[in-house]
Point group: C2
Chain length 283, copies 2
C-alpha cells in the first residue's frame, strides 16, 4: 500500500509590484504542477516586500478581506485549473482587525477557510505586533483532496505546541510559509540554522514530513536567507535551496508508509495529556 | 554579568556487576569534578545492563526504594564531598509499583526528590511497559545549588511537551539520561540522528542548552550508540562523543547570557496557552 504525495515549496524575491508578484508565483505554480506537485506552498506575504521591518500607517492599505484579496482572486481559480492545493499567505483586513493569514484553496478551487497566524513576533526588523492581531482561529489541519495538511505561518513555526496541535487534528504533512532573514540590529546573528533545526525537531517529534518556503532578496538591507527545504519524517533533508536562488523544489512522500512509521514509533500512543496542564496555563 | 556553569555528561558501558558499575561511574564523576564540572549526568539505568530488551521476572529483584538504592547510598555522599549536583537514574521499587526514576542529589548531598519517567516506550528491544509504570510525578525542574535543572529520562526526551513543562518551571538547562541503540527487529534503522535532532529542536525552541548521556557497548547484540552530546541554546554542538568511546565531556555555558537571549527571542512572551487546549485533551 502506498499513497504518494508530490509537493513543492517556492522560493523567490518580492518587490512592490503586487500584480507582478502574483504573476511570478503563478508561473512557478504552473511549473511545479507540471513537475508533478499536487500541493504547492509559496512564501509568507508574497504580495509585496516584507513591510513589517518598519511601523508605517500606509501599509494597512494593502490588507484586504480574505475572499477579496487579489492573491485569492487570481490564484484561487488556478488551483482548480491545475488540480493543486494552494495554501496562500495574505495580509487580511477583517473589519477593524488585521491579521497575518493563510487561505487554503483546495484542488477544485473551493475555499476551505482561513487560519490566522497565532504567535506574532515583535522586534527590530520584524515589527509584526504593529500590524497583526494575534490570530483567533487556532491551529488548523485541512482535509484537502490531496491530503490532510497543517500549515503554520512563520513565527508559528518555532512553537512545538502549534505543530503538535496540527498533528492531533490528523495532519500528514506540515508546511511553513515564512519571511525570515538578517537581524538589522544584530548583523552577526544568523538565525538560519536555528530556523531549520526547530522545524526538523517538529518533523522528528511528530514523525511527519515538513516543507518550509522562505523568500530571498535584499530589501533595503534586510537580507532574506531563503534556504527553503523539505525534510522527511525523520528530519533528513529531501531537497533544499540555497540562500539566493529563486524557483521551487519538490519531493514525493508516501503518506501511508509514514503513518505506519508514526504508529510504530508510538509517540502519540505514549503521550501523557494528564501531565501537560502547565502548557495551557497562564504563567 | 556572567553566571558560568560547567557541566558534564558521562558515557560508558555497563555490565552485570552493580558495584563495579557504580565504582566506574564514581571514578568518572571524580574526574569530571576535577575538570571543573559542577553538575554531572550519567546515563539511564547505569546500575546494570539494559534489561528491558526482554521481559523477565527476575529483573524486578534489582529495583529498590529510591532512598535505599545502592546507587543513591553510594553516590549521594559523593555529591557533597565534591560539591557537584548529581541527577541519578535508578530502577525504583515503590511498594507494589515499579518506576524508571531519577533522584536529584544537590551539591551538599541533600536529596531533593524523585522524578519518574512519564512516557514509557514499548517495542522490540525496549519492552519498558513490562517493567515500569508510567510516572506519576509530572515533570520537574530542580532548584539546585548550581542552577535550575530540568531532567527528562530517555523516552521523555522525544516529547516537546516535557521540555516545555520543565522550561515553564524555570529550567536553565535540560538534561537527558538515556539508553538507546540498535533495533533488534529492524537492524537497518539507525535512530541516532533523530535522537539528536529531537533534543536539538528542544534547545532551539526553548533557547536552552541541552546535555544527553547515552551508554555504549554490545549487550547480547543490542548495540548502544553513545553519541552523547552537549549543545548550546541554538543547537550548536559544544562537545560530543562518538559511538564507542567511554569517558565524559564538559562544556561551560553562561546562564545569564542565555536568559537574556531567551527573553530577546520572545518565544515565552509570545506563547498562546489559550490555543493549546488540544494538547491536554484525551484523543
Amino acid at each position: 500500500m502506498a499513497r504518494l504525495l508530490c509537493f513543492a515549496v517556492i522560493q523567490d524575491a518580492f518587490g512592490p509590484d503586487l500584480e507582478g508578484n502574483i504573476a511570478r508565483v503563478e508561473g512557478l505554480i504552473r511549473e511545479a504542477a507540471k513537475a508533478g506537485a499536487k500541493l504547492i506552498l509559496a512564501p509568507e506575504l508574497f504580495q509585496g516586500p516584507y513591510f513589517c521591518k518598519s511601523e508605517e500607517t500606509k501599509h494597512f492599505a494593502h490588507a484586504y478581506p480574505y475572499k477579496e484579496h487579489p492573491v485569492i482572486q487570481k490564484l484561487g481559480p488556478l488551483a482548480g485549473e491545475l488540480n493543486v492545493v494552494l495554501p496562500l499567505s495574505i495580509f487580511e483586513n477583517a473589519g477593524q482587525e488585521y491579521f497575518n493569514s493563510l487561505v487554503m484553496i483546495d484542488a477544485d478551487s473551493s475555499l476551505l477557510g482561513v487560519y490566522r497566524k497565532s504567535h506574532i513576533p515583535d522586534g527590530p526588523g520584524y515589527e509584526e505586533k504593529f500590524y497583526f492581531k494575534p490570530g483567533d482561529t487556532g491551529f488548523k489541519t485541512w482535509t484537502t483532496l490531496n491530503g490532510k495538511i497543517g500549515v503554520g505561518i512563520c513565527w508559528d513555526q518555532w512553537f512545538p505546541e502549534a505543530a503538535r496541535a496540527m498533528m492531533l487534528q490528523g495532519a500528514e504533512l506540515l508546511l511553513y510559509p515564512t519571511a525570515i532573514g538578517s537581524e538589522p540590529e544584530n548583523p552577526a546573528l544568523d538565525t538560519r540554522d536555528r530556523w531549520r533545526r526547530a522545524m526538523i525537531g517538529h518533523a522528528v517529534s511528530n514523525v511527519v514530513p515538513v516543507g518550509a518556503a522562505n523568500r530571498v532578496g535584499d530589501e533595503d538591507g534586510q537580507i532574506f536567507y531563503g534556504s527553503s527545504f523539505i525534510c522527511d519524517d525523520g528530519g533528513d533533508l529531501l531537497s533544499e535551496m540555497n540562500r539566493v536562488e529563486s524557483g521551487f523544489i519538490t519531493a514525493t512522500v508516501d503518506l501511508d508508509k509514514i503513518a505506519a512509521a508514526r504508529a510504530d514509533w508510538g509517540f502519540f500512543g505514549d503521550r501523557r495529556p494528564d501531565l501537560y496542564g502547565a502548557l495551557t496555563e497562564k504563567q
